[in-house]
Assembly symmetry: C2
Homo-oligomer: 432 residues x 2
């Protein structure tokens, strides 16, 4: 009997999970690695940061997702290195030999070398980043209650979001609803109503429109809705420096703020360059149309980490549909190798773009059509709830949303002590 080929998949995000799930029953042995024991539904991560959802509502244990899949074994561990020569993956816990390796670790925040950004700005790409950000935001209000100096109070209550892409737009919209909704009622002494000057939410975008890739009418709609909901949107506002208590713009303007959220850029998770893989731009690995790494037939990349240009030479965006489709494609190509049929080139079927500005307000560009307002919001809701993994999560998220929607309330506003960086095994295990 032929020995089963061993496929090691690194990363249990959309791409990695798609590979693992699509390889079921294809005659291969699959090991799925992730540094966390859970999959995170990243498109809703900003809602965790805005205290709209709890972490458990958008995350689900990987072992539970794969429970019925007998071809996949999950291993929790951090990827340390890959040796393409010996086909060995090294984690912080073990060494694993692969026949094929799929890198699906995704992307991390890109600060573009802006001075002070890494030190002082909050990233918003992972659960371990969203939760401390939420606690930071909520604790600004508790701190402001005690602030005697009006300037100090104003600085504490100024929240600056850098980057007017989907994450920046969605997060600043959600933050505005949090601040001018439940927090206004929780802190009557801080004068947080929408037209007051108690709190400021500032969205800084370096280009001349928000939601760059969208048609202009949708960008304009999003801009209007954000403004109407109390977000100060500043276009053509490039950040030159971030300090502990201010942001300095390239035009010299200076914004006192004690919270900066950086959503302006992404880059591939570090590592691949060190292991000798060919790199595209943004720290992403250059792949062939089959999604194999150029020059490394046994290494595949799917999702945000892959650098692949479309027919017009533009890179594919780092969004969930690309990750899901690439993950499935890698699985199909791996099956083709086993069957001895020729590999196929990946083709992205663009389902359209969606961004939500807040309650009843979203924009969608689907099949060449622009949709905005309530219909786009319902579309967004239906798609996201349908895609959330696990019936229970969907139900809880729906209950939460329905509650928020009906009563403008958020119960997730607990300031819990979270570690900011992933803590090691042994540190977690020590009770003191």
């Amino acid at each position: 009997m032929k020995v089963k080929e061993h496929v090691v998949v690194v990363g249990a995000g959309f791409a990695g999970l798609a590979v693992a799930q699509r390889l079921q029953g294809k005659g291969m042995k699959v090991t799925l690695l992730d540094r966390q024991n859970y999959h995170t539904f990243l498109p809703l991560l900003y809602q965790v940061a805005a205290a709209e959802l709890g972490p458990t509502e958008i995350a689900y244990p990987v072992r539970s997702i794969l429970r019925t899949n007998r071809d996949v074994e999950f291993r929790m561990g951090s990827l340390k290195s890959v040796d393409p020569e010996t086909r060995v993956v090294v984690t912080d816990r073990e060494q694993i030999v692969y026949d094929h390796l799929v890198l699906a670790m995704g992307a991390t925040t890109n600060y573009f070398g802006v001075e002070g950004a890494r030190e002082h700005a909050f990233p918003l790409r992972r659960m371990e980043e969203a939760v401390p950000l939420r606690h930071h935001i909520l604790s600004r209000f508790e701190k402001a209650v005690h602030a005697r100096d009006p300037e100090e109070r104003r600085r504490l209550l100024t929240f600056t979001v850098v980057g007017g892409g989907p994450t920046g737009v969605e997060f600043s919209g959600a933050l505005a609803e949090l601040v001018h909704g439940p927090l206004r009622r929780d802190y009557p002494m801080l004068d947080l109503h929408r037209d007051g000057d108690g709190a400021r939410i500032v969205l800084l975008e370096a280009m001349d429109q928000v939601l760059g890739g969208m048609p202009e009418e949708l960008s304009d709609y999003a801009l209007e809705r954000l403004t109407e909901r109390g977000v100060e949107v500043r276009l053509d506002a490039a950040v030159s420096r971030v300090e502990a208590d201010r942001v300095v713009l390239q035009d010299g303007d200076d914004l006192p703020t004690s919270t900066v959220i950086w959503t302006a850029g992404v880059q591939g998770e570090p590592g691949p360059e060190r292991w000798g893989l060919p790199m595209g731009r943004q720290g992403r690995v250059r792949v062939r149309p089959t999604l194999q790494v150029e020059g490394f037939d046994r290494i595949w990349v799917a999702g945000d980490l892959a650098w692949l240009e479309d027919d017009e030479g533009r890179p594919l965006p780092g969004v969930a549909p690309v990750a899901l489709q690439q993950g499935s494609h890698v699985a199909r190509n791996l099956a083709r190798i086993t069957q001895g049929t020729p590999l196929e080139a990946f083709r992205y079927r663009d389902p359209g773009m969606l961004a939500v500005v807040g309650r009843n307000a979203a924009v969608a560009h689907v099949g060449g059509r622009s949709i905005q307002g309530f219909p786009a919001w319902v579309l967004w809701l239906v798609i996201h709830v349908a895609k959330l993994i696990g019936f229970r999560n969907r139900l809880l998220v729906l209950v939460n949303w329905a509650w928020n929607y009906l009563f403008f309330r958020r119960a997730v506003r607990l300031i819990l002590p979270y570690a900011k960086e992933p803590v090691g095994e042994e540190k977690v295990s020590s009770p003191r």
Copy 2:
């Protein structure tokens, strides 16, 4: 016009919240202090540790609870000291002058000086303790997957609960359901079925019965159900020493275990002795029947921190009904002072005792009657859901429970990086 008397309440647990809520409209100004911004429903804390509920399901922001109460101002801060002479309370953020002070900080874990217990055992009294414990437990299983040595694996999967009171019984029952239910399915390679020897849950009780205060038939019932559900209950088993990887009993027996949960004792939160208040036993403050501290007419104590004996000289137990009733009583006595009517003595109306062993199995001693099994479990469920603060929380908890009940599943099994100790304001605020 008379200046309103200023009542400072320390602690937003059952007792402190009861004081604050009952003082509404009584012509006093109330400041409620807590080191957290949320109230925790402590009777269900063990379910957070057992991954049955998420933190947000049993905690609720204090400001939201008190939103409609215009006489109360909430201040987040840690109590540092009290000066009864000058009537000043000092927190880590401010000084507050009081006319009356209500101490309702509750109790903390008492290790009774057992060697190594403070260093190596997990307490289970606060949200910030339950969440790291959950992560520790879940990460034992991930670690066991990698353990080559069978003894090491067995040690990793031995969970030792010290103390057979309600918390110990409820937690070990819930842990058994977690391990032999969803975790057994998540970790088929670990052989976790109930009659297997993959994992051990050991409950150590120094006395000769579990649930000490309960009638013997109920203790026996709880013991049987726990045993049937896979908990090894050891009576007359007093702990002499806790080490990083074992527990040593007073009879010299030695239990290799990498997780020890200490539920064996409580003591009042420290502080009052230092401020010169008269102490009863267990670090609790000696109060008169009016709930004023002996010798300090303007300082009141309610809840677990109060040392008050009943007519037979037995101290009142540290349970939620005592805290709620004492909180209300302090509020009524404060109102009597304003009205110039005589103070009244506190009388505890015992509603009975309840403890849940697991699915369909609980014991209740109510009005002299013993109830066990499914009826007691339903009673427990109804009472706890009804008491949970906030309709939304109740609804979410019900959804979670219903889901767990119907499908024997738990989705809260995320190993998130939590800080073990409450982190300071500034540490929370630093993103790196």
